[in-house]
């Protein structure tokens, strides 16, 4: 069964994630979150308003189809800029607490960004010819270009974090996970369209809208629920209790003073090595 444009499922998938996203922004704006991730809040707000406006323009009989495509173009360009700003915000939040690797991380992701933009431009140059008007064919290529760079950059954040074992903040991780999911799926779909393999199929829109819906749910879960704090340890474990039998007692694993002495020995040896 092929889904029809403006069927109940279609309308739900178009409207529901945007309404949910706007509700999420409404909740987040009341919280501390907006100060931590202002660009993501702006992105979510813009994407929500844009989605609802495009729906209204689509169903309105007074609106010329060309005007709808023009609105989509403007929205896509602004949203594309916001997507890259969100990635920058995630990178900043991810590295700001770790000065030892901040410069390296920024350089690696910036380098990946330059490479991705170059590859995206090459991919755009080799996309299939489309018989549709230029503003329809070109926007497919624009989608492919934006999502290729955005998905690649999000992937670079995950690879960087895994390689250096950078801890994720729960909220930042949720944003990156949701964005990674939807941008990778969109890239696959728009690559098929721009490559001429899949065109004029309602399944493309259904898949894209459904994935965005899932992403908004992921963002809602990660941004509205908080991480469990570990309970304070039992005082009896904090006390240096002689009756406690350590499970991993090495040759000198008992006394803190002993460790301090060892540490000082190491410090002397290593300082000598470094300055020789």
């Amino acid at each position: 069964m092929t889904p029809q444009a403006h069927s109940l499922l279609w309308d739900y998938l178009w409207l529901a994630p945007h309404i949910l996203a706007l509700a999420l922004v409404g909740v987040l704006l009341r919280r501390e979150f907006r100060r931590h991730y202002p660009i993501f809040c702006t992105y979510l707000l813009f994407a929500g308003v844009e989605g609802l406006c495009l729906f209204a323009l689509d169903v309105s009989p007074k609106v010329d189809p060309v005007a709808w495509w023009q609105a989509l173009w403007v929205g896509t360009v602004i949203e594309g800029i916001l997507k890259f700003a969100v990635i920058g915000e995630l990178l900043h939040r991810q590295l700001r607490s770790w000065p030892s690797i901040a410069k390296l991380g920024r350089n690696l992701v910036s380098g990946a960004g330059v490479l991705l933009v170059f590859l995206a431009a090459v991919a755009a140059a080799f996309s299939a010819h489309d018989n549709a008007p230029w503003y329809i064919g070109s926007i497919h290529v624009l989608f492919q270009t934006i999502y290729f760079a955005a998905a690649g950059l999000i992937l670079s954040l995950f690879v960087l974090a895994a390689w250096l074992h950078i801890p994720w903040e729960r909220q930042g991780y949720g944003i990156a996970f949701g964005a990674g999911l939807v941008w990778c799926e969109h890239l696959a779909m728009w690559a098929l369209v721009a490559g001429g393999i899949l065109r004029n199929s309602p399944w493309i829109d259904i898949a894209n809208m459904a994935t965005y819906h899932v992403s908004v749910l992921i963002w809602s879960y990660y941004l509205l629920t908080s991480e469990r704090k570990s309970l304070p340890k039992d005082d009896s474990r904090h006390r240096h209790d002689d009756s406690y039998d350590p499970p991993n007692s090495g040759p000198s694993s008992g006394e803190p003073d002993d460790h301090e002495e060892t540490l000082n020995d190491w410090n002397r040896e290593l300082e000598r090595l470094i300055h020789q």
């Binding site: 995950f158 974090a161 074992h165 801890p167 001429g196 570990s230 406690y244 020789q276």
Partner: protein, 181 residues
């Protein structure tokens, strides 16, 4: 290039990226559940032996005493041993990040601050280990060249201090030791 081929390449890239993002989420969940037992996976590192390996004076001594072909062979063996040490240091640093990450959610501000410091030092060690391994691999191809592995040692020394402090704050009876006695 054929547009269809390009589209397939991009789809494969997108699916791979998606799988990686999903995999990292699953592994993150699994890692959190076994963080408590990770300190036992730390392999204490003999910094004294490592110091001897990277000592330029030692290298110069060998160069003077040994014939050139023999020196190159010995130096390669030393470099391989050095690489093993660096691998252990990097792996220990990764384990310490996991342990300290769990401590970040502690209600004790001092523990959280120490955990942050430990993570920063551990990541510095991982970064330096990457550079050191690169230089070691270059030196393996050209054993006569000099090699400075001091940054990794310096980072490891700071890591040792932070790990012991965090271990002491969390549980004074069970210290975290990353250097052999």
């Amino acid at each position: 290039m054929n547009p269809s081929t390009l589209a397939v390449i991009l789809v494969v890239f997108a699916i791979t990226a998606l799988l990686y993002v999903g995999y990292s989420t699953v592994s993150k969940k699994l890692q959190t559940s076994k963080d408590n037992s990770r300190s036992f996976q730390i392999e204490p590192l003999d910094v004294e032996a490592f110091r001897n390996l990277v000592d330029p004076a030692e290298r110069e001594y060998l160069r003077r005493r040994l014939p050139a072909p023999e020196f190159r062979e010995v130096q390669r063996q030393r470099l391989r041993a050095m690489a093993d040490y660096v691998h252990v240091a990097a792996r220990n640093a990764a384990i310490l990040v996991s342990i300290a990450q769990a401590a970040l959610s502690s209600s004790d501000p001092r523990t959280v601050e120490t955990a942050r410091h430990l993570i920063d030092n551990a990541m510095l060690v991982r970064r330096n280990a990457f550079y050191a391994l690169f230089r070691i691999n270059v030196a393996l191809a050209w054993p006569n060249s000099g090699l400075a592995a001091a940054p990794i040692l310096h980072g490891y020394e700071r890591l040792n201090g932070s790990a012991m402090l965090l271990g002491r704050l969390q549980n004074p009876a069970v210290p975290v030791r990353i250097s052999a006695m």
